[in-house]
Amino acid sequence: MQVTMRGIGKAFGPVRVLDAVDFNIGAGEIHALMGENGAGKSTLMKILSGVYQADAGNILIDGKTAQIRDTVDAERAGIAIIHQELNLIPQLSVMENMFLGREPSRFGVVDSAAMRRQSRHWLDMVGAQRIDPQMEAGRLSIGQQQLVEIAKALSLDARVLVMDEPTAALTHREIETLFEIMLGLKARGVALVYVSHRMEEIFRICDRISVLRDGTFVGERVISQTGFDEIVRLMVGRELGERFPKRTNAPGDVRFQVAGLADDGNISGISFDVRAGEVLGIAGLMGAGRSEILRTLFGVNRKTAGAVSLDGLPLDICDASGAIGAGIGFVTEDRKNQGLVLGMSVRENATLVHLDTYARFGVVNDAAERAAVEQLIKQLRIRTRDAELDVKSLSGGNQQKVVFAKWLAAPPRVLLLDEPTRGVDVGGKAEIYTIINQLASQGVAIVMVSSELPEVLGMSDRILVMHQGRQNGIFPAAGATQEMIMNAATGGKTAAAPVAP
């Protein structure tokens, strides 16, 4: 089966996400789709699988125009997608999940025996002999859940299988299993689209690669005829070195000290210090406990052990307002659910943390508030027509700047950043990096969690690497490589995956 997407365009409100994108894939091929966060990879795949509708362009299957109006159409055409966030219903059993909405039945009664038999068959096919079809899906590991999703896709007779960052949350062993299965599917003539950030993996198992940048298609290459450098150039549109503006200040005295930090079982034994004006990066795989460190330091998760001190004074923080009082700010990972109140205006969001600053006896001084917000909008170059607009009308990068604004109304002493550029386009990223550097040069101690290794390497002075809830080394960023960090993040015992020349 040959699938061709031609001239695909898509916009969400004012934000243009895809513009005239071409993409094609054939049977028995593993095709990598790469691009930075916000480049439009997921959107393109959601259009292919019927989750979204394209505003422009068309999809051809074996040369004929196909109408994919919803996921049912895509399913019928043999296209299945395994989303980054897995879609199994945790309370249902594995087989109930696999046959959801198409349960084998006799006279309206579910035929459990048939369901068990069939799900067993497909699970064996993906090498998941150890998964019991009657087990609750929620009890499986992320890797196992992914196998169930693949088995489900096969049971739907998928000829095109899209996998959106499937290895982000997997252990090394699970990744190996997944690759074997992918190669097996390829041999059987299935077309696989592999969306990932992990260059090593792509060079190892993919045949061709398509690159998106800022919602446009920038090129397609045969893997054996290209290299890392060319792909990176295609992705970012310039040399890697320029992506991260240089910081010139020298870090000052130790400002923030953490010793032996632990919470209710996600993290333990975390110790580090951060100097004034220094950026400490935290790297690690999904689920390694990176965000939990920040949430515990900020008093959102319960601290069970450890000592924290700020400028030499011990801190005992038990909730967010305590942390804020001590001079700690927290730019959260998920700006829609944790960072912003989407129904409120830019102004109301920007002043939410430090509203007391503009109030006397609990009454807000409108003029002072507005003036402060105008100042923040200018300082952070937030692009909004009016501070009174709903914050949700802004683009991702500008929304993220509003989240920064919340904390800058009164400069913090320590700023915790959790994935500060997630879902932000390249231009927005550069501006956020500049903001981070400005704060560092003002003496703020910054702790930054990021899943993007180049970002961690480019922005940090030192890098703490997490592995399964514990820290596995702190590296000076100068001289550190992606391989070193990945190696430490996967436990430091396994050698880095072999790399194509």
Partner: protein, 317 residues
């Protein structure tokens, strides 16, 4: 309307004023079919009849802005009313008795707030429980029968008196409370925190808003408002009924929703609630003037509420 070009801002304002326009349309319609409607004393009468619902609905607005609900308001009203009446009968000075009843209402609201914020119980369930408990307590305290005749000029003035021999005191009370609530929601840190908590409690918490404390205050205020409504009702009837106020919480919720406040929290305004309460009051009054049977009145009232909310939904799409 078709020729009007609507910019997005214009449209939003128009939408916000929707309930107000509906009120005007119904009022104009009524004044045509029933000339009695527009007489000053009838209009003041409508406002007085709306005042009890409006007072409860103001408190309910805060609760609903938080994304919560307070089903116990009618029971709080009844128990506060019985407490005040018992105190008056035992010879307590009227001012003290009245304040004690209002404080008691606040405490009942505080209990709701504690169950919801500390006990993490869904507001619907929490206040469904206290609704029944408090109603039961009102029956226990009063032994199931009304407590009447207080012989207090001060107390009977609260519900039956006039300012400048024209404007009923409950109407004045309603407008004063409206002004206070408008100010609090629009101008204070607390008001901003109510909107933020209702809009996204997680973001609010991570921004240092003490979400628990906001909840406690809001439910306490709702209790206070129900008790104040209880004072007005008891004074007007010169009697405290343990079964009084049954279903009042639903009228209050209707007024809030008619006023455009979203049941999911975070969006709404107090002016809408005032209009919503008046809308319900005008409808009641108009249907009486037109001699519609009380059975049909219910059918019509319910239909108007549904219609208004459906139109609102349609507009927002």
């Amino acid at each position: 309307m078709a020729q009007l070009t609507l910019t997005p801002t214009n449209k939003a304002t128009l939408q916000k004023l929707g309930p107000f326009i509906a009120l005007l349309v119904i009022a104009v319609g009524l004044s045509i079919v029933s000339p009695d409607f527009l007489r000053v004393d009838n209009l003041l009468n409508v406002m007085r009849q709306s005042s009890i619902n409006a007072l409860i609905a103001f408190g309910m607005t805060l609760v609903i802005l938080l994304g919560g609900i307070d089903l116990s308001a009618g029971s709080v009203l009844a128990l506060s009313s019985v407490i005040i009446a018992s105190l008056l009968q035992s010879g307590t000075p009227p001012v003290v008795a009245t304040l004690a009843g209002i404080v008691a209402g606040g405490l009942m609201g505080l209990v709701n707030g504690l169950i919801i914020s500390k006990g993490k119980v869904a507001p619907f369930i929490a206040t469904l429980g206290t609704m029944t408990v408090l109603r039961g307590l009102a029956l226990v305290m009063s032994n199931g029968s009304p407590i009447s005749d207080f012989n207090s000029d001060f107390f009977s003035m609260l519900g039956g008196g006039y300012v400048a021999r024209l404007i009923p005191i409950p109407v004045v009370l309603m407008l004063i409370v409206f002004g206070i609530f408008w100010f609090v929601l629009k101008k204070t840190v607390f008001g901003r925190h109510v909107y933020a908590t209702g809009g996204n409690a997680e973001s609010a918490k991570l921004s240092g808003v003490k979400v628990d404390r906001v909840q406690l205050w809001v439910y306490t205020i709702s209790g206070v408002m129900a008790a104040i409504a209880g004072v007005v009702l008891t004074s007007r009837l010169n009697s405290a009924q343990p079964t009084a106020g049954t279903g009042y919480e639903l009228d209050a919720i209707a007024a809030v929703v008619l006023g455009g406040t979203s049941l999911t929290g975070g969006r709404g305004w107090i002016f809408g609630t005032l209009v919503g309460a008046l809308l319900i009051g005008v409808l009641n009054n108009g249907l009486n003037l037109l001699d519609v049977s009380s059975f049909y009145q219910q059918v019509i009232k319910g239909s108007v509420i549904l219609l208004a909310v459906l139109i609102d939904r349609g507009n927002k799409k």
